[in-house]
Symmetry: C2
DNA sequence: TTGTATGCGTTATCAT
DNA sequence: ATGATAACGCATACAA
């Protein structure tokens, strides 16, 4: 009956009463060799072995050789848990992915973000541990994990509003950096975001420059910064030519809503000749609707998307879109955490530029 | 000058001499409250606090209240590193993703595998930590991490041939389960695989049953079991009708190589009327090439893929393919590790069945 | 250059 | 029901 309590108020998460539901047979692990074993086998003291391990000077050649032989002999492998305990550092950083399952699988950026963060952390010799939060139970357990000294800092990808994990991070004063900007983000955190507004501005401008007169938009996720900023950029780029009737709003970035929205839009405005979709998935859906309505892309309607995801290369014709520097986002977030780890870098907000990728759909 | 040596022979990996390249200012962390603090503040002993934390009986109501107040007061959060050290368990399992970057981003199954593994581990209240191996440096660091008691077991996804990580796992006798079957897998490990051969056989058979006479294949990743077995199943299904000239080989499962390979193939064999692509991404690329060459799918050429990834539903027409139970693969692998953690389950090999999903492309 | 002793924060074993 | 005390494996200040 192995029950462990996390102090409720300290973490601010619903307390879990049990570590494990089932039987908890503590399986007898093979005993591993310790510094002590190496010391006795090599005839030196533990201190000297430790010094050897940490590469300090003042280890004689004879001692070194004896130690190396002993290590081989007993098969010594350092215990990092002990090392962490005494050094108060783990050389590792958590990366929290907080997404409903389907999105995690679909989102093309997430993998790149992981890779970018890992590359940066790796260069600084920090281990990245990805923690996926997929249920309330996960939330709870991850909170315990974070509080346990496993990680020295954390990168958060796509945090939710009112995310309990954010509370924990805040309370623990864990150095953190967010990719994206959750509405209720803690003051102490740093952020890396893309400049949605100016990117939307740029691609809309470019669409207009191809001679399109009646340009509409399918705006999505207006409750998030990303969605709202893309609409703002679109509006800004069009200036006086902006027509509210040409904007169709949908809640999520999805293929299906994109298809429906486009159908509605061309019915309302048959003279539509340009379309900015808030994401590539939306754009793909819209292109399908346009095709079904007998409009040719790009001849009749120019279509542009956002993300440069796998969708963009799959549509026919290939989609003109905005490339999100996903890898750089991950790298930058990791860098921010590392900075906080070294000195006490002030919370900062980084904005990365996107690039327009012009293909055949407009 | 913080240098740490991993005993070369114990781990069998190239030894890293330094933990970090740059300056290593050990940033003064905020001192966190300990059991000791809680004990003194509440007027009970450390033992009692520990018992309270672990939910054991024999804690009086008065003691409980005093402890709870003290915890709130000092903001106590348990230190898992210390807990791990004394308990010799971390309640967490590593999941190693060993992929070249691009593949990690492209592979639709990896996300599902993660989710499946996480769900299973989560149910057993174990934390999953995803470790991505993307460079030699990563290999080294992950080896250290594994040896450090951070994780009690490990799930390995898509291990490479001669993977140094596998050596480490073997040497540490870390309970492990592989998703997929690396050629030089250690005897001690367990595996979860899909039956690539018979799945390839089944879908090829079905393709032939639609009346196709000249059936080709784009075979990928032949250095892995998955790739080799799919080719074997294809060949087996065709029997005497198998024509080596109709097989095009590519190194990776990718859209672009699929497109190129298909172009080559129809040039070499213009009478091609059926095509088995080793993955959906490859199939999508192939369909693009067929379209470009003026062939209609499925009228002129029937195309089938493998994976039932997101690709399969994006192609026009929708792709007939083989569904990989990716989520179940992850779940099963995690379960195997958990079993080893509880008792000493013998290494086992699990084979999961795939199902043919027949859509419109053939 | 090396050995000794102490502490890191917890759990566990004894007493009481 | 509770309090002392000994581990856990390692790093390090200090003594030698």
């Amino acid at each position: 009956m192995n029950v462990h309590r996390v102090p409720p108020d300290a973490l601010g998460v619903k307390r879990r009463s049990r570590y494990s539901e089932g039987v908890q047979t503590p399986r007898p692990r093979k005993k591993r060799a310790t510094v002590h074993d190496v010391a006795t086998h090599s005839g030196v003291s533990r201190g000297t072995v430790s010094r050897y391990m940490n590469g300090e000077r003042y280890v004689s050649a004879t001692a070194r050789e004896a130690i190396e032989a002993a290590i081989r002999e007993v098969g010594y492998v350092p215990n990092t848990a002990a090392r962490n305990l005494v050094m108060q550092r783990s050389q590792s950083v958590g990366l929290i992915v907080h997404e409903p399952g389907s999105l995690f699988v679909e989102d093309p950026n997430i993998g790149e973000i992981l890779l970018g963060a890992n590359a940066t952390l790796s260069a600084a010799d920090h281990q990245m541990a990805v923690l996926v939060v997929d249920s309330d139970r996960d939330t709870d357990r991850v909170a315990r994990y974070l509080s346990g000294g496993f990680v020295e800092g954390v990168v958060i990808v796509s945090a939710r509003s009112q995310d309990p994990i954010s509370d924990v991070i805040d309370r623990l004063e864990l150095p953190a950096a967010y990719v994206g900007h959750p509405p209720d983000a803690p003051e102490s955190a740093s952020f890396v975001v893309i400049d949605n507004r100016s990117a939307a501005h740029a691609i809309t401008r470019r669409l207009a420059d191809t001679g399109r007169r009646r340009i509409g938009m399918i705006a999505a996720a207006l409750d998030r910064d990303s969605g709202a900023d893309r609409l703002a950029g679109f509006r800004e780029a069009l200036g006086d030519a902006f027509d509210p009737d040409l904007v169709e709003r949908i809640p999520l970035y999805s293929y299906l809503s994109g298809r429906e929205a486009a159908a509605t839009l061309i019915e309302r405005a048959p003279d539509l000749d340009g379309l900015f979709a808030a994401s590539d998935a939306v754009a793909a859906g819209a292109m399908e609707a346009l095709r079904a309505a007998g409009r040719r892309v790009p001849e009749d309607v120019g279509v542009v998307g956002f993300d440069d995801s796998a969708w963009a290369r799959r549509t026919v014709p290939a989609l003109s879109t905005v490339r999100q520097p996903a890898r750089e986002l991950g790298a930058a977030a990791a860098k921010l955490v590392l900075d906080k780890l070294i000195g006490d870098a002030a919370p900062s907000q980084l904005q990365l530029d996107c690039t327009v990728v012009w293909r055949d759909s407009a």
